[in-house]
Amino acid sequence: MNSTLFIHYLLTLYRTLTRQRLYAALNILGLAVGVAVFLVLSLDVRFETSFERWIPRASTISVIRSTWLGAGHSFDADNNTMGATLDELRADYPQLVGTRIWSQGGTVLKGGQPNGEVVDVVDPSFFKVFDLPLIRGEKTGIFDAPDALVLTKTKAAAYFGAANPIGQRVTLSLMGGPRTYRVVGVIKDPPRNTDQVLDFLVPLAPWMTAADGRTWSHWGSEQLSTYLRFDSPAQAAAMDADMDHFVDRHAGLDLTAPAHEHLRLRLQPLVSLHLLQTKDAAVVAALGVVGLLTLVLAAMNYVNLATARAGLRAREVALRKVMGATGATLVAQFMAESLVTALLAVIIGLAMCELALPVVNAAGGLSLKLDYFGPDSAILPVLVAVVLVGLGAGVYPALILSRFQPAAVLASTRTPGGGRAGARVREVLVAAQFAIAIAFMIGTGVIISQTSYLRRADIGFQRDGLIVVNSFDDSDVTPAQRTALLEAWRALPGVAHVTAADIAPGNQDSTNAQNFKRPGVPGDGPSVNYVEGRSEFFETYGARLIAGRFLDLNHGGDDGPPPAAPGAQPPVASNRNILINEAALKTLGFKNAEAAIGQTVLKGRDDNGFDPLTVVGVIRNIRFRSPHAPVPPTVYFMKSHDVDNEIAGVRYTGADPRVVIDRMSARWRTIVPADPFRAKTIDDNLGRYYRPDEQHGRLFTAGAALAVLIGCVGLYGLASFNTARRVREIGIRKTLGASTFDVLRLLVSQFVRPVLIANVLAWPLAWLAMRSWLDSFDQRIALGPTYFIAATVLALIIAVATVAGQAFAVARAEPAKALRHA
């Protein structure tokens, strides 16, 4: 193609676009929105799938995951292992490269002020596994000294400002008592796409394992994560295959043989950890599909409009052929036009994406960024999109038009628009577009209903008016201080109830389980969670009694035994009274709540014996954790004194939560001056379980709404084209006596049919997708027909509203005008 011809083609394109501005705007903007939605959602998918890939050689790192097995087991697989697992592994595999990460709540004292920080206790071999580059310091022997401290750039700046942090001393209160640490290294701040905090790293010291007592090397306890590095995937696979034998070799003393039937250890690649939970992977996949389908929808739209319009240029093509254009030059012209238009749309799409990202980041709690250069560059996929859409849109009209016989076209009064086959193709494309749009509408409706349902669903306790004090569990707070704090808070104005327990809404730090069974049941009995709480636990959280009574320290037998010796398993007094939840009622095999009252339940001991307990009450299931997981069967104990790993809960009435938190903080500073106060309202603390679904739901809804908008834009463009093309026919029909309503019905029904056909595809697809999504929730709405019917009705309303305006204008026009000008 010579330059003159190329300029001529560009001029033709410019004139085509500017002469038919509405069509050009619909076509280009529709594609641009599709590109923008695709880019934003693919950035989110990339973000979610890129977790931990910032760590050098991340693909060679595995984490050990534990699953507790057994009848009625109540634990899902987690990333925690017993403290000494790595030591016992090294006994079998001396060459093993691994490290533990033991996250602890610590307090850094700065200028006399306590600052709460997460401190990761790691093995000296940490940097052999996590080969993070140091900004300052030297890796060799970095953790040789027991007082060594490595911190991130941000933390270094926070505590030492611009001064060189290396060699600076820090007072760190960790696991009971302040110690002085010396900064030996500074690492870069981890990016947002990580689940690793790594703000403060200190080496594991013998006094720490001693402080953990018997649980450090007791199979059945879990307190930290164990990471291993392998030179090859084969080595990791070989070790993974040996894990059951390893558990049998080492855990036989603590677990009934064969031990691997109780505890399953497996290696999991670090990079796959973030999306390990099926529901997260499914949500990310769904967002990816929404992005891709939106782009496909926009591209279909573009192709549809382009091919429809192409017919109108038949005369131009015929004349060009008469003037000497060959088929090849015409194909080249249409392909080039299409590519340039697609490029224009994609550039606008990129701009829209840049404009949308701050809003999306704010709404979704994300930090997505469009990279133009480097390994994550968006340029290549965008160029691929331009070429695919451009060629896809150009090839059909190019081939069809270039085959037109000039004489026939010029002699005909008809506009060749691909004929009945072309109309059929366009109808199929409109049906496909609306199938996607209707499926998205159904999905959006279900997601909105489910997230709204979760916000108001019965979770077995009263979620308003609660404050959770997470710092209550800090190792620096003594039992006497805890008791004093509870008393002080109880006396505050606006505070109705105060309690502490080893569980709190939104906290997942501690889970206890043991075998429970009824007398006469053979074997160990099912594994059931148990919770220990102080007085007013049930009143503070507003638990609902089904039968019997709440535990109350005024009743004999409700209180637990006195505190155990440090490190020892706390004894359980025989015939202690307990409360059980509905799930435990079922697991233990009681007929109903009333039948359980006064009955004996046996709790397993580590020495394989059983302690008898008496059920005095049954409560509704209390959901303190994720709405996805079922509420585990749970037994509740009450203690008048210190509970291990306890979190305080405070119920307030008629007061501003900020005011209550301020008052509680003031009391805290008086009683525990050396430790920072950390408290949250229940919404903030429980939010971790609800926020991701809500954020992803918002992204899905926004993507789906834009997809529907694109569908409408396409339909509007196609409707205006078709209406224009049928002006003569409308004139004829009116001349024959058709009323305005007859014509309106004719034009509108033309688009109603593909919308109705679209349901055949949309309904089953949406049903399958939403059924699978809802199944990931323990608490969920019913997937009733309303969502499907509503989406269809909405799609019909949108379709009719989109085409009715222009159809009405044409239907009302005088027939003579239509016949004269068509």
Binding site: A423, I732, G737, S739, P815
Partner: protein
């Protein structure tokens, strides 16, 4: 049957105002066959369109069967066309995506005729003009003459009291043109009123009255001896 009094029609665009008809006075009686002649752009088709109620006069009065057309609404005009008028166009104006039978049937559908009656009428109309064997074909599969005969079948299927033909032979060769004129003549003989725009003096001779137009006015209105 038709009385036009002081009818004018102006077309306005952004820049130009064109007067297509000026102060037209015309009276057509039941059973007449009127031929309208004149050079291109003289307003023949506009006059026919106004008579056919598919265009509206800017000024003046139009009575059809003593009914004031200018005061009727959109729905009433549609009903009037449906029940009383048949149209034949120079360019046939058959709907491309409908078969010949479906094209002929269309007006009866708008009249809400029962299916069985429609089929009988359509078959009779197509038979009358000699296109019954092409019933299931699409317009582009027919010759021009056949298409125009199909258009006449469509115009007469509802037995309208008035047939309006706008240069019905304009796109046809001599033989096909003669056939169309024969059909129109026989329809008139059976009682239909026909108003036809034509450029052909010989075809105008078939009519029993001739109206000559120039620059939007009727210049001569002569009645032939029958």
């Amino acid at each position: 049957m038709i009385l036009l009094s002081d009818v004018s029609r102006l077309y306005r665009s952004d820049e130009v105002e064109t007067t297509a008809l000026r102060e037209i006075e015309l009276h057509v009686r039941q059973g007449e066959f009127v031929a309208i002649m004149g050079p291109s752009g003289c307003g023949k088709s506009t006059l026919l369109n106004i008579i056919g109620t598919i265009d509206k006069p800017t000024r003046g009065k139009y009575l059809f069967a003593d009914m004031d057309i200018t005061s009727l609404g959109e729905a009433e005009l549609a009903r009037l066309r449906r029940d009383n008028l048949g149209f034949v166009f120079q360019s046939f104006n058959l709907i491309d995506d409908l078969t010949i039978a479906e094209n002929v049937e269309l007006g009866l559908i708008y009249r809400k005729w029962a299916g069985k009656d429609r089929k009988t009428k359509v078959a009779a109309a197509m038979d009358r003009v000699g296109v019954a064997h092409r019933a299931k074909h699409y317009p582009h599969q027919l010759s021009g003459g056949q298409q125009q005969r199909a258009a006449i079948a469509r115009a007469i299927v509802g037995q309208p009291s008035l047939i309006l033909a706008d240069e019905p032979t304009g796109n046809l060769d001599t033989e096909n043109g003669a056939q169309v004129m024969d059909i129109l003549q026989s329809l008139n003989a059976e009682g239909a009123t026909i108003i036809m725009v034509t450029h052909s003096p010989s075809h105008a001779d078939v009519a029993n009255r001739r109206v000559d137009m120039l620059d939007g006015r009727i210049v001569v209105s002569a009645r032939y001896a029958i």
